[in-house]
């Protein structure tokens, strides 16, 4: 099987989708001739022409708004917002329009589209190249929210997202683009080519949205994570020698509650990890659901390990980032609390 980085897998997903379905179009800032600042769309314009893959003006509102019109027409736009930090100018179009068009038109018009955005920190990108805004989308009825953590999933989930009949927010943890970053900035990152999840099937395959996956079996504590934090949590458990079960949520909305509940009922302990700031982060929803559905199985309070409630700082990146040490400490605390 071919080995791919996450960038290649994402590109391949678009390539496969464009090849199979003429209605798939790709556009965004710098995505056409140049192929995107992270190179995720490199080669697509050459292969499919400027009418299927093209550069857009620097207007996130315009990109999303135009894509909504295209989707209403019958196309399936897969668009890029250059960094998730820059999605806010398009927030109204996403929340008030994309998410609601099917509902308010009683299905006459629909909005099959994917909004891809590099997300998360770990690259010294400062406050505007590091954000994790997933919780601002999980609160919006009508959206789906996906965060892959590796090349195989990135490809399968992106294909599924493009084929989905409803709008999908597709957050790509940029720190994982080239390798499974484990939260140790001082150590070299293994490339995806040396990681089993860097083996990506050729051609078309779709990984269903709404299904989590257990990345690591364990009996002592359940860790709920997604994106970069899956790898950081694995490192934490490994390094602290904790028998943690690590669940990679993959899709945040709709959520695979079943897998989560089964695990927490088994372990009786739960730690939630994300990069986004704590307050009203997606971890809050996870904690609320877990306590609701596993109340009588929980032996200790659910802990959240997250970015702090500050803007994402530049110099203090590694103080902000919820690294393996902080996660391990939480795992131990939760288990000792019992």
């Amino acid at each position: 099987m071919p080995r791919m980085t996450m960038i290649e897998a994402i590109r391949d997903a678009m390539d496969v989708s464009m090849g199979r379905d003429e209605d798939v179009v790709v556009f965004g800032e710098d995505v056409g001739y140049f192929g995107g600042v992270f190179r995720c769309t490199a080669g697509l314009q050459q292969k499919y022409g400027t009418h299927r893959c093209f550069d857009a003006p620097i207007s996130e509102l315009g990109i999303v708004g135009a894509a909504i019109g295209m989707a209403a027409y019958g196309l399936k736009p897969c668009i890029e917002v250059q960094f998730a930090d820059y999605v806010y100018p398009a927030y109204d179009q996403i929340v008030s329009e994309a998410a609601r068009i099917r509902y308010r038109s009683a299905g006459q018009f629909t909005c099959p589209m994917v909004i891809r955005m590099p997300t998360g920190g770990g690259i010294f990108g400062g406050q505007t190249h590091s954000q994790s805004p997933e919780a601002l989308f999980t609160h919006v009825s009508g959206l789906k929210v996906v965060v892959p953590s590796n090349p195989v999933d990135a490809k399968g989930l992106l294909i599924a997202a493009i084929e989905d009949p409803d709008p999908v927010i597709f957050l790509e943890p940029k720190r994982l683009y080239n390798g499974p970053f484990d939260g140790h900035p001082d150590r070299p990152v293994t490339p995806w080519s040396k990681h089993p999840l860097g083996e990506v099937g050729e051609g078309h395959f779709a990984t269903p949205l709404g299904k989590a996956i257990v990345r690591r079996q364990g009996a002592a504590v359940s860790v709920l994570a997604y994106g970069t934090m899956v790898h950081v949590s694995e490192a934490a458990a490994r390094e602290a020698g904790i028998d943690a079960e690590i669940i990679d949520l993959r899709t945040l909305l709709p959520l695979d509650l079943e897998t989560i509940v089964a695990s927490v009922k088994k372990t009786g302990h739960c730690v939630i990890v994300h990069e986004a700031t704590l307050t009203s982060g997606f971890g809050a929803e996870l904690a609320a659901l877990v306590q609701e559905h596993c109340f009588y199985h929980l032996e200790a309070p659910i802990a959240r390990v997250t970015g702090w409630d500050t803007p994402y700082p530049h110099a203090q990146e590694w103080d902000y980032f919820p690294g393996p040490a902080r996660i391990a400490r939480a795992l131990v605390e939760v288990m000792e609390a019992a």
């Binding site: 179009v25 009418h51 299927r52 857009a56 003006p57 207007s59 509102l61 315009g62 708004g65 135009a66 894509a67 909504i68 019109g69 295209m70 209403a72 027409y73 019958g74 196309l75 100018p89 109204d92 179009q93 008030s96 329009e97 068009i101 099917r102 509902y103 308010r104 038109s105 009683a106 299905g107 006459q108 018009f109 629909t110 009825s141 009508g142 789906k144 009949p165 409803d166 709404g210 709709p254 959520l255 509650l257 079943e258």
Partner: protein, 410 residues
């Protein structure tokens, strides 16, 4: 160092306020027939003047004059008259229904009927409008059943939108009427996107975007002009300048000088202003713009100069912010009366037939209303089901919504 003046803060004010004498002397109205008609394939650079004038066809005597005249036959004009009369009577009826508590809210078109009714005639089936809440004329002139409009307004069991939407925020894919958003402006850029898609697919269908004068200040307006000009999208972008945005006069959105149409010039977009109370002029300009779009000649920005005679909505009382009689002084007159007079002038119509037509129109509407009310009104009779509230958020209902519906016991 330069001399320093004390800075002053400037807030535009309308000429008149309640209690003042209405005054439109600042609105410059060219004589009908005087504005030239460029070829459809003319370069936008060569028609910048059209963004500062007003294209008019019907003169004071009810004659159709000048280069923009002659796009419709008398029969077509009679149709148009009937559409406008229907829209006006429909509005009156629904305003009353709202006051009777049969619905929560209504928005009328009084004075602006020509804009959407005439524009619709220049489109073909398959073209797509992205309207605001004040373009029901597109539906009426397009033949959409009034009873379905009423069902929507009543949020009753037959409401095509299942009770989910605020009254008048219609949607009909079949009739080329995109689901109206309650959020101002958002659909302008969507119209451009739809048109881009049509061009990407090598289709022949075009799009039309709609926005109010006040709403041109919204970001989506800018995005639409940027995208339409960049990709030469086959779209007609309409601004309905009815002089008011709720209580705010158009000077707040327009600033001290310039016109709304002139905003297109900086983008190299063909931009025109038209007498929005002149059915013939609106149609002629629409036809010209639609043809440009169809012939890959790019987008057109049209400012329809008109006046909102009624209140903004049933929640509004304009006497609080403008003279009560302001509409009487509006220099472009009434679109229904002007078309009626023209038809009489050319011998295709008469006062008697007009009175008779008014009665017929009213009967049709009353019949539709009876039919609609059989399916219920907002607070009585048949209702959309509570289950409908949970349906259609997604194509397939996810587990969490199923759980919630169950919890709701419905």
């Amino acid at each position: 160092m330069q001399q320093k003046h004390k800075l002053r803060f400037h807030v535009p004010e309308p000429e008149v306020r309640p209690g003042d004498q209405p005054d439109f002397s600042n609105v410059k109205i060219p004589r009908a027939g005087t504005v030239p008609r460029p070829e459809v394939d003319a370069d936008p650079r060569d028609m910048r003047d059209l963004a500062y004038s007003i294209i008019r066809v019907l003169n004071r005597d009810g004659e159709a004059v000048g280069p923009w005249a002659g796009t419709l036959t008398p029969d077509e004009l009679l149709d148009g008259l009937k559409h406008m009369m229907t829209l006006r009577a429909f509005d009156a009826r629904m305003q009353t229904a709202q006051r009777q508590g049969k619905t929560s809210f209504y928005m009328q078109h009084m004075g602006e009927e020509a804009v959407s009714c005439a524009f619709r005639r220049a489109l073909d089936d398959g073209d797509m409008n992205f309207p605001t809440y004040r373009q029901a004329g597109l539906l009426i002139a397009g033949g959409y059943p009034m009873v379905d409009m009423m069902n929507q307004i009543y949020s009753n069991e037959a409401d095509p939108l299942k009770g989910r939407q605020l009254p008048v925020l219609y949607s009909s894919k079949e009739y080329g009427f995109f689901s109206v958003s309650g959020n101002l402006g958002t659909q302008y850029i969507q119209a451009v996107g739809w048109a881009m898609a049509s061009a990407i697919k090598g289709d022949t269908r075009i799009a039309a975007g709609w926005i109010g004068d006040g709403s041109t200040a919204e970001s989506d307006f800018h995005a639409a002009l940027v995208f339409a000009s960049t990709y030469k999208a086959p779209v007609v972008l309409n601004i309905v300048n009815n002089q008011w945005a709720i209580s705010t006069f158009q000077g707040i959105a327009r600033g001290g000088s310039g016109t709304f149409a002139a905003r297109g010039l900086g983008f190299g977009i063909a931009a025109l202003r038209v007498d929005g109370n002149d059915y013939l002029a609106v149609h002629a300009v629409a036809k010209w713009a639609v043809e440009r779009a169809r012939r890959n000649l790019g987008p057109t920005l049209i400012e329809h100069v008109t006046y909102r005679v009624g209140a903004h909505s049933t929640s509004d009382d304009p006497s609080a912010y403008r003279p009560k009689t302001e509409s009487d002084s509006w220099p472009l007159g009434d679109p229904v009366i002007r078309l009626k007079n023209h038809l009489i002038k050319i011998g295709a119509w008469s006062e008697e037939r007009h009175v008779q037509a008014e009665a017929e129109v009213k009967d049709t509407i009353i019949a539709a209303q009876k039919e609609a009310e059989k399916h219920g009104t907002l607070h009585s009779g048949g209702k959309p089901s509570a289950r409908d509230m949970f349906e259609g958020v997604y194509a397939d209902m996810p587990a969490h919504l199923r759980r919630q519906r169950q919890k709701a016991g419905i």
